[in-house]
Amino acid sequence: MMLADARTLCPQIQVAPADPAGDLALLERLALLAQRWGPWSALDPPDGLLVDVTAVAHLFGGEGALLADVRARMERQGFLSRQAIAPTAGAAWALAHYGPEQALLAPDDDMAARLSGLPVAALRLDGDIITVLRRLGLKQLGDLQGIGRDALQRRFRSHRSPGANPLVRMDQLLGRVPEPLLPVLPPEVPLVQRRLMEPIRHRALLDRVLEDLADDMARVLEGRGEGARRLELGLWRVDGEVIQRHLEMAAATRDAAHICRLFAARLDDVDAGFGIELLRLRASWSEPLALTQRDMEEAAERHGTSLAACIDRLSVRLGPDAVRRPVLKSGHIPERVQSWRHPSEPDPASQGELAFHDRPLKLLDKAEKIAVLYASPDGYPQRFRWRGQVHEVARVEGPERIAPEWWRERSTIRLRDYYRIEDGEGRRYWIYRHGLLGDGRGGMPDWYLQGLFG
C-alpha cells in the first residue's frame, strides 16, 4: 500500500521512515545487552536474538524465572518480546515465533512430538519454499514427519542452502545436524585506570598520575596496533562526583607525551574537592595505527647497515645472482677452478691450493682469441694482436701445461700451454696455446688470451 493510500484511509497515521541499518544496530546493542543471560548471543535479523543459556538458568532461579526476567527487562526497555528455551536454536526460534508464551522445552522431552503442531513457517524457510510446502498440503511440522524422508530429499535435492531445504531445517530443529551461529562480540574499548591509595588534591600529583595513565594507554594501544582518536578521562572524587574530560585528536595517536600535553590544558579547571581517588582513561574511538619501524632506518643511517642487510638490499635490486662470492672448486682448467656462491654460504671443503704458479688477478669470462706471430710454432709468441692492438712480448714465462680433465672431457679436447707474458709497456697477460702442432686433434693450434695480471 502506498503511503498516500494509507493516509487516505487513516489520516491520523503516524509515519516513520524505515531504518533497517538503525534497526540492525539496535539489535546488535540488544544482543550485547542479552549477554547478561548467557555467555554469548547471536543476532537473528531482523528482530530476533539467540542466547546460549546452557548451564546458566540456575543463576536466575530456573528456566522459567530466566524467561520471566527476560520479559520483564525487555518490557522495561519498551520492547515487546516473546521468549522460549529449547535444546536447539531452531526449536527455540520455532517456539518463540509460533509456540505458546514462555515456552520451555526440556532436553528429555520428545521434541518431534512437542513441535509437531507448529506451522511449517517455524522452520525458518524462505517464502517460496513455504508456498511450495503449503501447495503440497504440508502445513504442520507433523505433516513433514509423516511422509518419508526419501520423498522430501528427492523433492528438494537441488536446494542446498538450509533456508531452502526443509529437510536440513528439520534436522537442525531436532539437533541432528549442527547449526553454527555467529556470536556477537562486544568491541573492547582500551581502558586503563589507577586507583589511588591516598586521594590527591594537587595538580602536580594529578599530572604525574595522568602521565602514568597515558603510558599505560600507549602500551595498550600499541598491543592492539591502534591509535586513539578520542580519549575520555574520568576523575572520581571521594564524594562520588565524576569529572569528565574529553579529547579528540585529528589523527590516531599513541604518543603518551602528546596526550599529556593535550590533557594538561583541560585540567586547569578541575575542582578536586576532598580529593580524587580514581582516574580512568578510555579510548572510546580508536583507529588502526600500524607499528612503525622508523628507528631501524635511523640506526642504519647512523651506524651503518649490517652485512646481511646490505646483501639483502643489493640482491633485491640487482637480482639474486648479482651478489656472489668466489669459492674454489677442484679442477684443472682455470675457469673451472672458481665457482660463485651466495655470500652467506660457507667455503666448501677443498684441497689446499698449489701456489707454484702465479695466477692472474682477473679472468675474462671467455678466453679471447689472439692473432700471434711467433718464431717457431712450439715456442712463445713474439708479438700478438688483441682487440685490435699489437703487443710486443718483452718477457715471458712458460709454458705451464694444463692437461684437459680426461675424466670429464672427450678425448679430442686439446691441452693448453699457458704463458705468463709482459709486453713492452709492462702490461701482463695470461695467454695460452690451445693444443700442440701434430697432436692429432686439429690443425694449427690457436692462441687465446684468458687473464690479466694486476
Partner: protein, 261 residues
C-alpha cells in the same frame, strides 16, 4: 733508502700537536704523497681497460689502507671483514672478473663480487656497500664516463664513505677525467715489472706507474709503485714530483725522509 731528520719546530712538537695546531707545518697539507699514508676515503683511479693495472693498484692501495687502519687500532686480531667489489657489465666485459687464485692471499676468502647491469645499479651497490659497517672497503669498477656518474653522484659516494668510514676505490676504465669529488685521483698504467731474482726473462713483481693528478691534501706527483708484501713501496728511481716541491726544498718538514721511503 736513507733517513734524515731535521731538528725543527715540527719535530720538537708531538705529532698530534703538529698535525692539529700548526696546520702550516702539517706535512700532509701540501707535501708530497708517500706510500703508507692513511688513504683518503674516496679515491679514483683512471686506468686502461686493456690491462688490470688499475685493479692491481686499487687492491694494493686498499690493502695498504687496511693495514694502516689496523696499525691505528692496534688490532692484532685478523681482519675478517668482507671486501665488496662492484663491476658493471661493460667493465666486466673489458677486463674480466676477479679470479680468486690470483687475488692477494688475505683477500681471497673475503671478497663479495657484485655484477651490476647498468652504471646506475653499480652506483647504488657502491653506496649501499659504503653504508655497511661490516665491510672493510669497497672497490668499484666502471667503464667509460656513464651519465649516471655525475659530480653529484660522486659527491654522494664521498659523503657516504666519510660518514661511515668505509674507504672506496673507484676504478674508471677507459674514462676521461670528468668532474668528481674524489679526494685523490690517480692515473694508473702498468710499468715494467721488477726483474725476478732467478729468471730474468720472466715477468716479476708487478709495478704501476701512478700519477696523482688531483688531491686536496697533496701536491701532484708521479710514482712507480709496487706491493712490497708488507706495505706499498715506491721505487725511488722514477718517483719524482711533477712540480718542484717547495716544502721539500725548504727542508722544514720535520722528521720525514726526503726520498720517499
Amino acid at each position: 733508502m736513507f733517513h734524515r731528520t731535521h731538528p725543527s719546530l715540527a719535530a720538537a712538537l708531538p705529532d698530534k700537536l703538529a698535525d692539529s695546531l700548526v696546520p702550516a707545518l702539517d706535512p700532509r697539507r701540501s707535501g708530497r704523497w708517500r706510500p703508507g699514508e692513511a688513504a683518503p676515503l674516496h679515491s679514483e683511479l683512471f686506468a686502461s681497460g686493456r690491462d688490470a693495472g688499475g685493479a692491481g693498484l686499487a687492491l694494493s692501495l686498499a690493502l695498504d689502507a687496511l693495514r694502516h687502519e689496523q696499525k691505528d687500532a692496534l688490532a692484532k686480531a685478523e681482519d675478517r671483514r668482507f671486501v665488496l667489489w662492484v663491476q658493471d657489465r661493460e667493465a666486466m666485459r673489458r677486463s674480466g672478473r676477479p679470479y680468486r687464485p690470483g687475488l692477494p692471499r688475505s683477500l681471497q676468502h673475503r671478497l663479495i663480487h657484485v655484477v651490476a647491469d647498468k652504471p646506475e645499479d653499480a652506483l647504488f651497490a657502491l653506496e649501499e656497500g659504503l653504508r655497511c659497517r661490516d665491510l672493510a672497503c669497497v672497490i668499484g669498477e666502471l667503464a667509460g664516463n656513464p651519465r649516471a656518474l655525475s659530480f653529484t653522484a660522486s659527491r654522494r659516494l664521498s659523503l657516504a664513505a666519510e660518514q661511515h668510514g668505509v674507504p672506496l676505490f673507484l676504478i674508471r676504465l677507459d674514462a676521461v677525467h670528468d668532474l668528481s669529488s674524489a679526494r685523490m685521483r690517480w692515473d694508473v698504467a702498468c710499468a715494467p715489472s721488477l726483474p725476478p731474482r732467478w729468471n730474468a726473462q720472466a715477468p716479476g713483481v708487478p709495478r704501476w706507474h701512478a700519477s696523482l693528478f688531483r688531491s686536496r691534501t697533496h701536491a701532484p706527483g708521479e710514482w712507480i709503485l709496487r706491493d712490497g708484501g708488507e706495505r706499498l713501496v715506491a721505487d725511488p728511481a722514477a718517483s719524482r714530483a711533477a712540480t718542484p716541491d717547495p716544502v721539500d726544498l725548504a727542508g722544514a718538514v720535520g722528521a720525514r725522509s726526503l726520498a720517499a721511503s
